[in-house]
Amino acid sequence: MSDAVDPFEAIKVVFFQECDELLGDLETGLLAIEQGSADNETVNAVFRAVHSVKGGAGAFGLDALVRFAHVFETLLDEIRSERKPCDDVTVKTLLRASDVLADHIAAARGQGAPVDEARSAGLVAELEALTHGEAVAAAAAEVEPAFTPVAATPIEDEDDFGFRPVAFNLADLGASAEPGAPAADAWRIVFHPHGRMYVNANETALLLRELSHLGEMTVELDASAVPDLDALDAEESYLSWTIDLTTDAGEAAIRDVFDFVETDCDLSIRPASAASEVAEETRAPADDFDIAALLARAQAEVAVAPQPAPEPAAPILPTTQSETAKIPDAQPQTPPIAQPMPQTPQTPSAPAAPAAVTIRVDLDRVDRLINVVGELVIQQAMLAQRVIESGLARSSGISVGLEDLELLTREIQDSVMAIRAQPVKSVFQRMPRLVREVGEMTGKRVRLVTAGEDTEVDKTVVERLAEPITHMLRNAIDHGLEGPEDRAAAGKPIEGTVRLAALHRSGRIVIEISDDGRGINRERVKGIAVSRGLIAEDAVLSDDEIDNLIFLPGFSTAETITDVSGRGVGMDVVRRSIQALGGRISISSTPGKGSTFTLSLPLTLAVLDGMVVTGADQTLVAPLTAIVESLTPRLQDIHYVGGHDPVIRFRDEFVPLIDVALGMGFREAPIAAGTGVAVVIETEAGQRAALLFDAIQGQRQVVIKSLETNYQQVGGVAAATILGDGRVALILDVDAIVASSRRRFVRHEATRSELKIAS
């Protein structure tokens, strides 16, 4: 996004954005097909998605992507036109193909690792096998097919290929690079532009010049079709050209030249050797037709074909292999392949189902709008406050007007926040692939059930949900679900179910990840916690507490470290990233029945649930998510470590007592012991501390304002907010406060020892 200076790059960025959406559509459609809830339109949508990816990729010269998408699309076209059944095996293959397609796109984008060539090639083989409807089972393994199948393919197979006598037309625009096409050096191109091409301001001379850059060529003009002058339509096109081109650039490069005119002309591109065979159809002289020489030559070409080429793909241009396959019969009796007049198949660009009209807006603009609206809301509240203070009657025109204004402001705020809100679908959509891969890796059969994909939450939250959900799903499959044998033994269906659901609950979004696996083995969890020194050996813990032990740092129950669920970084990482979002995570588990993880997150990061407190006349806000409990400290509970560092007894545990106002320099002397209110907080690292304030004012949802915008980061302060009275209040960074009090403690120690030395 950043370097949108180059217009070409900018378009490319848009293309990749569209790719993301198309991949989403693709996956959704395929899953619908898998579940049997697909209609024709779904299949069409899936086809269109792949086709659009291919079309765009072609424009950007992303050849690997085009090649793969083409094979993919070919099979989908077969299914779409109901020439091929869409059985279970096919859908599974298609799903895996969509994963590889995503890999190709990521690679083309420069993100992620290069595509696993073997996997890609394997899938190409599978797709092609499915397309040609043979050896479906065997094809999977056939990554390196010998050329023999082609040579051995008898002509009768042609029908089985579902060969359509379609050479080129609107629908196949861009259906160019047959992956297995050999790099022949000599090509014969027969080009007959329609009048329309000239209307569209294209010019043959320019095309020919372009073509001449590819290699050596000879051009022959066929003007035989030009009528007498009186019959001549000045705007019609009567000329055609036959071009013999010698190039090593391949068919795709040649086709690229005609990219923009392909719909407006009759075009045939074929290796020179094969071209003569269909010469009669294409108005080229075919005097030197020598089958034997031709056969030898074609086979020689095919033999050096650099790519595995199992069979010709169906609805594409006839290429060398198919020609070769026919030559043994040597019947140039109007082969159906080269009919210049194509049948019109369904156009892939058929009008799509009416999609929601959307616009792309720079996120900055939305944020600016949200900011201004936030200010409007605060200003409105302040104004209302002033009006009440001024003692105006409630029925006065001003008061009534203000009330209307308040309603409007609220509506504006809600609508503006809704702009940023996004369905969690974008995250959920990535998960089926993950589940498939993890399932394959662990050898477990897993079904992912999702619910509530349309639940909306702020964009920033959506973006940061992917990682914890990924982690937890992996965990659920790797640790939660049993292997097939164990499941069978336990009387459960062999296929495990993992459920991923999102819902709104009391102003927060709740994400549930549940599995029907074995549940948490509490004995083992406790054992591990004891052996790792995380809990005392004789600790008495409730089931719930034991379940929650898995969130402790350094806890990982996997006996063998697997690729799937990390190495020792476990649920504590998940918990930390959830807490960083102001969320909470909990687990409930029933042995033998499965476990459920529940994440609860704020709907937006723009507001925060806070506890408003005062310390030395300053109003401060402590994030509610960090607060464990608040209590009034009794004198007898406060102790002093080393004589001056106070700690307080909290549930049989001594936690440091931090006078926040003192630490922030708001007052000189510490608050009198035994007064004030202590708020026990827990840092993200799980450390507890009690923060001492003068008083608690109450809970409030506050709008987060950055201090860095106009100033800079301030130690101990996470951000600022504006309270109802219009004043700025600081939101505490409890982690930093605890950390800095610890540092101060250390410093105390240091100064004391220095003093000793000095004395």
Binding site: Q379, L707, Y711, V717
Partner: protein
């Protein structure tokens, strides 16, 4: 429209801190507002009065007098905050009063004499003499503390 004599002319806002007069380029001042109590920031340098709410934005307030090392007074309602745009940020500059808008050419600007203290000299770009008054032109870029400086403080 552009007259050659006007090229070097600039509009300045003059303000008072104690007995002294200063001025800044009018283009960098966004608005002038009355004093509102600021929320103090922890461990901030003494001239940082804290932050206030400027229509939803958090605006840091710098006591310009303290920043110059002059005497400081407890801000009251008679004090004024000049909201200025400095280096991509907005800051509020606390001054005693805004006195004038003056138009001067760069020729009238005199270099700061050596008698001034180093601290004052680091902010003062030059001096103007106007009707017998001495007005110092302030360089706002140096007003905002460097992040490192504040961290150390």
């Amino acid at each position: 429209m552009t007259e050659p004599t006007n090229v070097a002319a600039r509009e300045l806002i003059a303000f008072r801190i104690g007995e002294q007069e200063f001025c800044v380029d009018i283009m960098s001042v966004r608005e002038i507002r009355g004093w509102t109590p600021a929320t103090p920031l922890p461990r901030a340098p003494g001239y940082m009065k804290g932050v206030i709410n400027l229509r939803g934005a958090v605006l840091p307030i710098i006591d310009l007098g303290a920043r110059f090392g002059l005497r400081t007074s407890e801000p009251s309602e008679r004090h004024v905050i000049m909201v200025a745009h400095v280096g991509g940020r907005m800051v509020g500059l606390l001054v005693d009063a805004v006195s004038d808008i003056i138009q001067l050419t760069d020729e009238a600007l005199q270099p700061t004499p050596d008698v001034a203290s180093e601290q004052v000299k680091s902010f003062v770009k030059g001096l103007f003499a106007l009707d017998g008054r001495l007005i110092s032109l302030i360089e706002l870029d140096r007003i905002i503390p460097e992040a490192t400086e504040a961290e150390a403080a």
